[in-house]
Amino acid sequence: MHFDFDQDRLLFRDSVRALLSDECTPEALRTLAASESGRSPALWAKLADMGLLGLRVAEAHGGMGLSEVDFVLPLEETGRAGLAEPVVETAAIAAPLLGTLESDARAAQMLPDIAAGKATVTVGHPANAFVSDAHVATSLLLAQQDEIHLVPARRITIEHEPAIDPLRRLFTVEWSPGSDTLLASGPHARALLAAAFDRGAFATAAQQLGVAEKLVETAVAYACTRQQFGQAIGAFQAIKHMLASVAVRIEFARPVVHRAACVVAATADGEASLERAVTVSHAKAAASEAATMAAKAALQVHGAIGYTWEVDLHLWMKRAWSLDLAWGSAAYHRARVADLILDGDAPAPSFGFSGRNP
């Protein structure tokens, strides 16, 4: 038992943070937001060079062959940076799903392209009303009843659904399943879709932690400089206590997300796993709640200036809202935990207290 990250993983996180703080400056994010695609092929290539896109691709397929335990801290950094590229869909969901299906030539072929940044794969899952990043995807994993299809971009038509987050790109996708696009069906497809959902919720939870931290840092920086009544407003207890409450929420969401990383990494995609469902939903609920709480507090600390397009705050604030809705909201996931632990006859699984090895 050692529930903490080793030095290598912290160093990798630091190098991801350094790259993203150079690339995702507020000016760069604003320029991207104003562009039609909202996405940067150059940035995507840099994410591939760093190893992020192929982190969950096996070494045999040109990836790093690492796990969610290695991925969770970099994912937090993508949230902190306000990165909107489809890292969650391509690298955290599609890569492991296609890896599970590597005996299928179409899946095996795509894996090296994902790792090299040549393929962008997004995911249309029943849990989400819209498909993000369908406009830049080279292929899409799309669900249809009990089937998963791998569909090339040329076989879909898309309609843009503008979203409040200026960097989010959501689409309604029209497509027709074909026998040549079918990747998995029946119980196997259901298990893979369940795993994809948990992976999406887990990875988004990690991003929400980064978003929450960034929002608190932004609010603290503002409260240290903004003067009213002859002093920095951060000296007032009303401000201190509000931000301290957010800090508590973040502190106790973080280990929950990190435990989810361990459990997702240790669970095979084909397995039905109560533990994965409970730990991932707990993680998404806790991280989403922390991020939306941070967004509201950061806005309140900024006052009227926070209600403008002019300060950068809104980029992260809106991300907190949009990521809350992606892969199940906090309310959805809390209800899922309730269903799993309150309605069954089995005692609720409990870290440590159950006395069994997770």
Binding site: M1, F252, R254, V256
Partner: protein, 386 residues
């Protein structure tokens, strides 16, 4: 990163579980805040010590097993799982003990720690004064040096376990010209001695869990000073850190409450207000989160790290969680929620009300949550003091 237990850790758990299954009293002990119940709890501490389970992280020479913090958490999990009695000497074993380990002389450790582990000396704490609550640095009780003694005068209050306990630790002003946190000294003294008067105070539940203590020229040997003269504040802060952190409030305590709450929900589901379902699941999730955070902290400490102001995050989290869980429990119990334990229709209601009353104190003791939020804002977030 490794979230499974080693075979050694599993064996340690099995050993603790087996011992507790044989030794935990079948019937609950009477309240430790009554004279008779206090002595029953003292006997339980002796039983624990006879099995060498009184304080497993302590070195063998002081009655412990030299266990690391992960094993300590495992022991606590088994302890709460077994429904073992509350620790009447928690001020001693969880707060003063670790402080003595860090700041005590070899003589002091040998003199106090084994008796503490055995329950021979049950400790009370003496921090607050009538005019030094949240503003603890406003302490006025004095200790005047006279030869090889200190002469104590003044008053301490909210001294938990002082009504029936044996010894008290606290900080006193040794430099009469000093202000605030300068000039304070950490002193240990027997409660039943000349010049020391204890007046028990009934708490919300009517029992005397704490007391006020008056000092009138009480003589205490200099050998009972912990650390150097004037270092009292620094040492007291370390003790308070233990109180807010993982020693006093190990996660199993709250996981145990969360499991009881889940059971209570399952048994009362049909009558339950729909809103309480969310409160129950939040309670369970928060107890898990607290556990995970504690394992993370323990892992970090074992690897040579340290904790400072983070203890304030802990204190807010567990105290608010504990209160929320007990409120949810009382909601589930509906009209029975106001019954005392001895009411004929009470069932196990009394425990929830009792737990609720005690949970209400959580945001107050060990430094109010308002003070903790100031600490977080200033020391962790970097907001300005003024």
């Amino acid at each position: 990163m490794e979230i499974t237990y080693t075979p050694e850790q599993q064996a340690f758990r099995a050993e603790a579980r087996a011992w507790l299954e044989t030794h935990v009293p079948r019937e609950p002990l009477r309240s430790m805040d009554t004279a008779a119940g206090f002595e029953e709890h003292r006997r339980w501490e002796r039983t624990l010590n006879d099995g060498r389970w009184a304080m497993v992280p302590w070195p063998v020479e002081y009655g412990g097993r030299g266990a690391n913090l992960i094993e300590w958490l495992i022991f606590e999990e088994e302890y709460w799982r077994a429904g073992a009695p509350g620790r009447v000497n928690q001020n001693g074993i969880f707060l003063l003990g670790p402080t003595l380990m860090e700041h005590g002389t070899p003589e002091q450790k040998a003199r106090f720690l084994p008796r503490m582990a055995a329950g021979d000396d049950i400790w009370a704490q003496g921090w607050s004064e009538p005019n030094a609550g949240s503003d603890m640095a406003a302490i006025r009780a004095t200790a005047r040096r006279e030869g090889d003694h200190y002469v104590l005068n003044g008053q301490k209050t909210w001294c938990s376990r002082a009504a029936f306990g044996d010894w008290l630790f606290g900080i006193f002003r040794t430099d009469p010209n000093s202000q605030r946190h300068i000039g304070l000294t950490f002193i240990l003294l027997p409660l039943r001695s000349e010049g020391v008067h204890v007046r028990p105070i009934a708490q919300l539940d009517g029992e005397t869990g704490f007391a006020e203590v008056f000092f009138e020229d009480a003589h205490v040997p200099v050998a009972n000073r912990l650390g150097e003269e004037g270092d009292g504040w620094k040492i007291a802060m370390a003790t308070a850190g233990f109180e807010r952190g993982l020693m006093l409030r190990s996660p199993a305590r709250f996981q145990s409450t969360a499991h009881k709450l889940v059971r209570l929900y399952k048994n009362n589901r049909n009558a339950a207000d729909p809103g309480v379902r969310d409160a129950v699941v939040r309670g369970w999730m928060e107890a898990e989160a607290y556990c995970l955070n504690t394992y993370r902290t323990a892992s970090r400490l074992i690897a040579g790290g340290s904790i400072g102001a983070e203890a304030s995050l802990n204190k807010i989290f567990w105290s608010e969680m504990d209160l929320n869980m007990h409120e949810a429990g009382l909601t589930l119990l509906g009209p029975r929620a106001e019954l005392m334990e001895n009411a004929p229709a009470a069932g196990d209601v009394g425990n929830w009300l009792d737990g609720f009353l005690f949970a209400l104190a959580g945001p107050i003791y060990a430094g109010t949550n308002e003070i903790q939020r100031n600490v977080i804002a200033e020391r962790l977030l970097g907001l300005p003091r003024k």
